[in-house]
Amino acid sequence: MREADYRTPHFGADSVEHRSRLLELWETSPGIKGFFTTVDHKMIGIRYIVTAFIFLALGGVESLIMRVQLAGPNGTLLTPEQYNDLFSTHGMTMIFLYASPILSGFSNYLWPLLLGSRDMAFPRLNALSYWIYLASGLFLYAGFLTGNGPNDGWFNYVPYAERAYNPGLNQDFYALGMVFLGISTTVGAANFIVTAMRTRAPGMSLSRLPIMIWGTLTASVANLLVIPAVSLAFFLLWMDRQYGTHFFDNTEGGQPLLWQHLFWIFGHPWVYAIVLPAMGMVSDGLPVFCRRPLVGYAPVAISTVATMVLGFGVWVHHMFATGLPAVSMSFFSGISIVIVVPSAIAVFAWLATIWLGRPVITTAFLFFSSMILLFVIGGVSGFMTASIPVDWQLTDTYFVVAHLHYVLIGINVFPVIGAVYFWFPKMTGRLLDERLGRWNFWTMFIGFNLAFLPMHVTGLLGMPRRVYTYGPGMGWDTLNLVTTIGSFVLALGVLLFIINVLKSLRVGVPAGANPWDAPTLEWAVSSPPPAYNFAVIPTVASRHPLWEARLGTRGARSSVDQGMLLDTGKETLGTSALNAHPDMVLEMPKDSSAPFLLAVGTAVLFVGLLLRQGVTVSIGTAIAALALLFWLWPRQELREREAAHG
């Protein structure tokens, strides 16, 4: 039996017949069936991106309503209840339903293309991850639209979140929704880690990984470690609320501070998880427009990992005012200051890349390079909050609101929009309009800074966060008006972006395979790429496979038109973790309805838990169990075979 599990893959050159054979194996069937069953990472990636942008737009509209309320003192547009629902939903939306999923979307789309592979390691898990993200997003928004949205901030401190102070369904929606969403993030992270370790093109050793892979890989490892903390916290909260446990209730021996620890042990590493992949986009995208390789590849890659490692030792800086002992806080203060160093490495690497390169100003370049400045502004304000005494003044004022928006908009939204300008041609085959792009960039850049730069001063003048209104005579009136105006300009910029995307989808200039003359593998395939990505498995000999001739790379050259054919089934290559030596032929699963059905079953289960209806819970569990059984049923064609390469 074992004998049959070995085989030698065929090597050869790309050809028309070969491609048509692959297409038959890989292409998702059209129509409604394909829609629900596809496991193609590119389709899933685009779905992630589109869904996340819809949530970004929703979160943006929520913030505009709040900005109208806060434009002047004693605003009366919103009741306190409505305002609290809005600011909490805004935070939840932007952080959980936009910032992380958008990066998952790009990584899903790009990873196999960057890595020279035909799909993610676990394509069905990938589909499940998306469907659960969508279902949990709908679940959370069902709460908001029925007046049961989160109402205690995204951080959701107890005891206010407990039933005694928060009797509605709001917190049950939020708690269960977060546990639900955690499943998506967890399986997604596991998939990224295995994909990075096992499905790289031969020759793509760790030292040849694009920085974006480093970013998402690091973030995924962090996610696997920290998501359990937040899922547990929300589960315990739900138990407290519905089953009379007292995990956070001090009158019965519980501890409100436990929530804060569990939440921030998750929350702060998570902040890095939602910026590191975006920083990776800049590290990979910016050099293309500087017409040279990134300065300091190794320091930047190491600093990515270092940020995350240090990032596990900073969570208490969210809790400096809780009365923890000064000695233990000073440890976290020290780490929070030290973590500036890896960020500084990235900043100076980017600056040097522009300075020592020959920059070409395109819209993507403008987004990537301006991000450096926004990153520095968000970074230094974060450095200020790392100093415990200073934080005692800064924390919970608008200074922190300004800080976190520079971090999340500056280091996530700006690189992401830049990444759309950069990779949209790859995804669609058409370039975005550069002229409209300039308008898009400058409106967003000016609007954003107009809204959030003065907000630092609002904070220094003492305006507390999370207030639905404020009185006159506090010195905040003009600043708030400016912020409101800026937020609308920023929104206009986002609107221009959406218009550009919709317009260019139809009439954009055809892009060709490599419109930017970029160095990495995704640009070696057509735009948009075929379902199977690579007709032959590429061989990688350097960090810049498509620039080798011009960089004068010595020794072996990368190859994208000759290699393993892998066309006897839906196959891709498994390689070793460190050096990417060919290891085994991976049999990839065909399109399947199991992920969708599992997500539906899980959604029904969570609705049942929310309503505490045993019948609904049972139905959901049954659907999920059947879907899992169907999914895991052993199939002859999916057995893994090792390549007999000696």
């Binding site: 009741t79 306190p80 609290n84 005891p159 102070y165 001090n250 009158t251 501890q255 409100p256 501070l257 017409r291 300065v295 300091g296 005012a321 809780t322 009365g323 000064a326 000073s330 020290g334 200051i337 160093v341 490495i345 900043v347 100076f348 600056l351 020592l356 390169g357 920059p359 070409v360 100003i361 395109t362 390079s369 450096i372 400045l373 502004i377 230094v380 450095f383 200020m384 100093s387 415990i388 005494p389 934080d391 003044q393 924390t395 919970d396 041609p425 370039l431 001063v457 003048l461 507390p464 999370r466 010195g475 905040w476 200039v509 892009a511 419109p515 003359d517 620039w547 011009r550 960089l551």
Partner: protein
């Protein structure tokens, strides 16, 4: 550029220790932004082309200089202010957390949704009294504040005098107040605590030791006796209606779940820093607190005109 809650200015206590550190880190931060901004601007202005994909392709690829000096130099320069801030942070932290004299005045402050219960502690029970939303302290003397959590988490903050300290159920946190000059310093809850988090302010009144002593002995006294018929009817009303939640020492109104009203008229503001104290605002507040602070735990009072007039007549007495 000064506002009641700004922390770029300070008036004593730990705020004095923090202020120079805040300014220094702010100046360092601004300088970093300017320097990086200028480098970035110069680097970008050396652009070889502008446009789109075609312009990008027109510039050939070059290996270029290695440039790792940029990183080592940049990090080395960055390390200096980081180290400085780290050391200064620890020094300031040690100074602030070293406590104060053992014989200091001690306050027990219990923030509640959405007001501040303030009790002046004393080993002698006859010297203990309660007030709300207004803290008096003698100038130049450190005052110890014990923060008790009662319902949800709140945070005690008087930016001109001291940084934030949370009041967490099941814990007692300690912070110190000290003012170097007489004045009124605004405080504010800074941990989100529900509907009226926005309207949860208070004031610290720093006064000369003599004025403080006078204030204290006045606060210790029970409520003045009513003299006119209106005031007497007003007291009756306060006892059987307001007394369900409030206390007026010297009467049968003895509940402790809402602000102590014994000397309410001596306080500059009502409804936790929301309105100035006068007959008009009191009338508006008593009749319709839900319009002023929606969600407030004080229900609207259905009172006849004469009931309200009587009540106000009595409350005005509570000096």
């Amino acid at each position: 550029m000064t506002s009641p809650l700004d922390y770029l200015h300070s008036a004593g206590g730990s705020a004095d220790v923090i202020r120079p550190l805040t300014w220094t880190t702010l100046i360092i931060s601004t300088a970093v932004i300017v320097v990086i901004g200028v480098i970035l601007w110069i680097a970008v202005s050396r652009a070889q082309a502008r446009g789109g994909a075609e312009a990008t392709r027109s510039i050939p690829i070059q290996e270029g200089a290695r440039g790792t000096k940029w990183i080592s130099t940049g990090v080395a320069i960055s390390a200096v202010p980081l180290l400085l801030t780290l050391v200064w942070t620890m020094v300031a932290l040690a100074k602030i957390t070293s406590g104060g004299p053992a014989n200091a005045i001690v306050l027990d402050v219990t923030p509640r949704q959405w007001w501040w219960d303030v009790q002046y502690a004393s080993p002698d029970p006859s010297q203990i009294f309660s007030t709300a939303n207004e803290i008096h302290i003698p100038v130049g003397m450190p005052v110890k504040v014990r923060l008790h959590g009662a319902d949800v988490i709140h945070s005690f903050w008087v930016p001109k005098l001291s940084g934030k300290a949370d009041a967490i159920p099941g814990r007692t946190n300690v912070t110190w107040l000290q003012a170097s000059a007489p004045g009124r310093y605004r405080g504010q809850c800074t941990e989100f605590c529900g509907f009226q988090h926005a309207h949860m302010a208070f004031e610290v009144v720093a006064e000369t030791p003599e004025a403080f002593a006078a204030w204290r002995s006045r606060q210790l006294a029970p409520a003045p006796e009513p003299t006119t018929p209106e005031q007497m009817r007003g007291r009756d009303f306060v006892e059987y209606r307001c007394g369900l939640c409030h206390r007026v020492r010297g009467t049968t109104a003895g509940a402790l779940i809402a602000p102590d009203l014994t000397h309410v008229m001596t306080r500059a503001q009502i409804a936790s820093g929301t309105l100035p104290t006068n007959t008009g605002t009191l009338a508006t507040w008593i009749r319709n607190p839900q319009a002023l602070k929606p969600g407030s735990l004080m229900p609207n009072q259905n009172m006849t005109g004469s009931e309200l007039a009587d009540t106000l007549a009595y409350l005005e007495l509570l000096q």
